[in-house]
Symmetry: C2
Subunit: 270 residues, 2 copies
């Protein structure tokens, strides 16, 4: 399971403040914690700092790569800011979050993928279906997006398809459709990756973390091999380790038993 | 999700004592608790009382059906004891646990299924493959068993196929095979049910309940619609409610929100 640590995101109030204040210690500490907890890449998002995104993102890249050696994931809706961030990143591979088939996104982000040989989160969104909720539309957009990226020279193993998570409280079939889409994409494109952010699923419902980690388990069961999540959420990570075992992806349960020895599998209160 | 409450099983030491002592209060209390916690049927097993199974099972049926109205599941490896138990059960439907393709089981248990119009747990086991661990063998045995039962006049909607849970600590691919078999059986035989006991999966590994409930979520994701479990395990039940939502089987999240209101979704310590 490949984990993209989601914590350094400017939509979180505490993070936005730290970025605005150029709080090196806060950002470096958070990056270290995520890497130590198992993040294979660290997402960096400064998009909420309107008018200062580019400079802030560049600063963020500099301070984070000073303290962690895991790959960075440049997360921006703005191609210019993303390019500036990507140029700053020393280590390879580098991740880009995200491309889609939307006409204001695909042509401006494809050159970034190519120029930096980036691994890329590919959102199932386009201008015809928007952000599709049902299985058929998700698969149609994913297929068009993957066929486009592959035709445009992106190696399939660099692509992390995000089939989009919606609040199940407003559409009882949307998670079922997501799981089916993950399974179909993994079967149709050998070597591709699937990824999801989880927390949107539980919007408006009680016990959100229970729903989020249960979705993680079910998505791993459907074949998903990456996630954008908070690796400091130990109950979520415990579910991830267990699901990896059950999906047959943890030979000799080595990761699971290692996590047990580090105390990660125990509920926080035990 | 259809839950068969597993607690009144003579392989558990406390239960065996209660059965040996004809402890009416213990057994009735446990049955009530399971029914209140959401069991759709209550498994009754007296097989560990060697030489006294039949009488004990009949006593057990009598005292349990005095206090709960949910269906009973007669669980015995002995066709004569099972018949005696089935004859005592007043309510319909009645469940039988279990038939398989083994030659010492199929011909003696099929008449019970027919005579009592029983819903039946059908174990993926035969004399050629034994208890198969890989996907192909599981599906081969499940197919032969289902084809046999259907040919012999058993309605497919009465059959609960158990694809067999093995310890993942000794075979890292066995749970993956189980999930694939569940999915294949559900697709191949519309109207059939799949069921599993979960706890065997975690044998020999730490944090067993974490693995058990994660398997439940993944199996529900694969289409499983019944389980033999302890409905008093609130964390397991919380995962079940969440997985049902995410599998699109809980319209308007009504069951989930009801469970939340009853306090079932909260971890025990919170």
């Amino acid at each position: 399971m490949f984990i993209i640590g989601e914590r350094i995101n400017s939509t979180r109030k505490r993070v936005k403040e730290a970025l605005a204040n150029r709080d090196v210690q806060y950002v470096q500490n958070d990056a270290r914690l995520q890497a130590d907890a198992g993040a294979g890449a660290i997402d960096l998002n400064a998009a909420a700092l309107v008018g200062q995104e580019k400079e802030t993102l560049c600063w963020l890249v500099d301070v984070v790569q000073d303290v962690v050696s895991v790959p960075l994931c440049i997360d921006s809706p703005d191609a210019k800011a993303a390019r500036a961030g990507l140029e700053r990143v020393k280590n390879r591979p580098v991740f880009l979050n995200s491309i889609s088939l939307e006409k204001n996104r695909y042509p401006t982000f494809l050159p970034l993928v190519k120029d930096f040989d980036a691994s890329v989160v590919a959102l199932c969104a386009d201008d015809k279906y928007g952000m599709p909720k049902n299985f058929e539309d998700k698969l149609a957009v994913a297929t068009a997006l993957l066929d486009g990226l592959i035709r445009d020279g992106v190696d399939v193993t660099r692509i992390y398809v995000d089939c989009l998570v919606f609040p199940v409280g407003t559409d009882s079939q949307c998670s079922r459709a997501l799981l089916a889409a993950i399974s179909a994409v993994m079967q149709k494109y050998p070597g591709v990756h699937t990824v999801a952010g989880l927390s949107n699923v539980s919007y408006g419902l009680p016990e959100r973390k229970l729903l989020n980690r249960t979705l993680l388990a079910m998505a791993i069961g459907a074949g998903m091999d990456a996630a954008i999540l908070d690796p400091l959420d130990t109950e979520l990570m415990a579910t991830m380790y267990a699901a990896e075992v059950l999906a047959g992806r943890d030979e000799f349960c080595a990761e699971y038993i290692g996590a047990h020895r580090r105390g990660v599998l125990k509920p926080p209160e035990a």
